[in-house]
Symmetry: C2
Subunit: 302 residues, 2 copies
């Protein structure tokens, strides 16, 4: 299935995206994302995870003439993503809060709603005489109010306090209810934990991790897994218009989703293909407990 | 100093703000904040902490015709705040991320820069079938690049990993430097801890806390203390244009700052005055260690 000849990284015309790698579950393309998105069918995709340029001059592909030019460019691809999403679909976009804030309001016209999520990490050095950066934002746009979301797949550990006092009387004014017909006074923990929160604590990629590539802004698989587990089902189509080192596609393949991706730098696509070829397969449930154990281990360590 | 006759809460005309409470270190006014700000001298204030209406219909004062009307109203008071701030001054504004994002870009024209901070709390119930809200955003606008900021007053505990491996060789490419003239390979911890980060973990106000009033959106003193400790000095003027239950003014008084506040609901001002009258005084250093101990206790508990 793998047309190795396409690995020649010099012949691509970014304005005419070209297939780079085909696989029984997905395809990788090289070229300009907006041109690529325009060729995709409307309402055909279940989930889009996008880690676009941030306009922070991190690499050559991260330079824009101005913040206004960046916002305009962003709206162009976001409008195409909205078009190709099914009515149950979600779009997640990563960015620095100060920058992505400018995109939220104009992008909202292509969606029914947006929730603002925080990726919180504590393992970055903090040398400046300012607040140390320890978060990025992830906007969760929903195509319609009927968007698919399964929080059970990404439940989080209960706090020790909650587990210590599982049964307690509720105040009369409690939103949990305190009447005969809806008696929730006897609380029982959910076997998979508490509902997920909008602040997600996962460390950034470190040197020495199996998943580490040379990509300058690689996202952790564990982070992307939260969105694929909660916002898609097995067999669904997950798309990443700026796949970089391929994390979204790797995680989609791990979890039995189908996947589509585009990237403008052919060298990154080579790394992505290598990662996809060596994917480890487990059930959604197994991945859930794998990440949960990592999370609990980190909590004890810090 | 306290003109008790002003405690009659019925006679205020919001368009003509009126002094409500005078104190050797500050003043509280009742009325419309924009009208009040217009009467203040330019470049006279060191720090503004603002917890304005969020436009989430939390109370009667939190209703706006539209998000556009909310943004326009916000820009009016923010422009006045920029005018009254000294060149070294900062403005902090609280809000839900999804909403305050719309204010950042247009407000930036009154300032030299903005950093996006997260107030992260874990102690709120999460009943909806969506990401549970566990954060608010706090925008840190700086009047000029010469803004005052003292991170030492709000340093945070080092991670156990950092303390366990204080001395380690740096990679050749490390940003910490690895050459003879700037040898930082031997790392020593700062006595007050690591530099502050842009995600601040403090629980929301709980029933039973000494500082709790009946105000529906009261902020924790510990949270506000971070901003007053880092962005002002003793004797500086701290201003809150929507003081509500008075948290900003209480913390300013605790820390030996002067303070000014305005509030449209006279009943809230009565609560604020009660709190100001019973303020506990400690040095900046003592408050720092008091909050630090609380933070460490919470970490062990959870």
């Amino acid at each position: 299935m793998i047309p190795e000849k396409n690995f020649n990284i010099k012949k691509y015309d970014s304005q005419k995206p070209q297939a780079f790698y085909c696989h029984p579950h997905g395809e990788l393309w090289i070229g300009d994302s907006i041109q690529w998105l325009k060729n995709l069918a409307s309402e055909s995709v279940d989930l889009v995870f996008a880690d676009p340029p941030y306009n922070i001059k991190k690499a050559a592909w991260d330079n824009f003439e101005s913040q206004a030019a960046y916002v305009n460019w962003s709206l162009t691809w976001i409008e195409e993503v909205s078009r190709i999403l099914k009515s149950t679909g979600s779009l997640y976009i990563c960015g620095f809060s100060e920058i992505i804030a400018d995109i939220k309001l104009p992008a909202l016209k292509f969606f029914s709603g947006c929730r603002w999520l925080i990726w919180h990490y504590k393992n970055k050095a903090n040398l400046s005489n300012d607040w140390g950066r320890s978060h990025e934002s992830i906007l969760h746009f929903r195509k319609t109010n009927n968007f698919y979301f399964n929080p059970d797949n990404i439940r989080i550990p209960y706090g020790e306090h909650t587990l210590k006092y599982p049964q307690h009387p509720q105040a009369k004014t409690s939103q949990y209810g305190n009447n005969g017909k809806n008696d929730r006074r006897i609380w029982r923990p959910h076997p998979q934990g508490a509902k997920p929160r909008d602040v997600i604590e996962i460390p950034t990629i470190c040197n020495g991790m199996d998943e580490k590539t040379k990509h300058p802004t690689q996202k952790p698989e564990e982070l992307v897994r939260k969105f694929i587990l909660s916002s898609s089902s097995r067999g669904d189509i997950v798309l990443d218009p700026f796949f970089g080192s391929g994390t979204t596609l790797v995680v989609a393949e791990q979890l039995g989703r189908r996947w589509l991706g585009c990237e403008i730098i052919p060298e990154y696509a080579v790394w992505a293909v290598e990662r996809i070829k060596s994917v480890k397969y487990m059930s959604d449930e197994e991945w859930f407990w794998c990440d949960r154990k990592n999370e609990e281990r980190r909590k004890k360590f810090r």
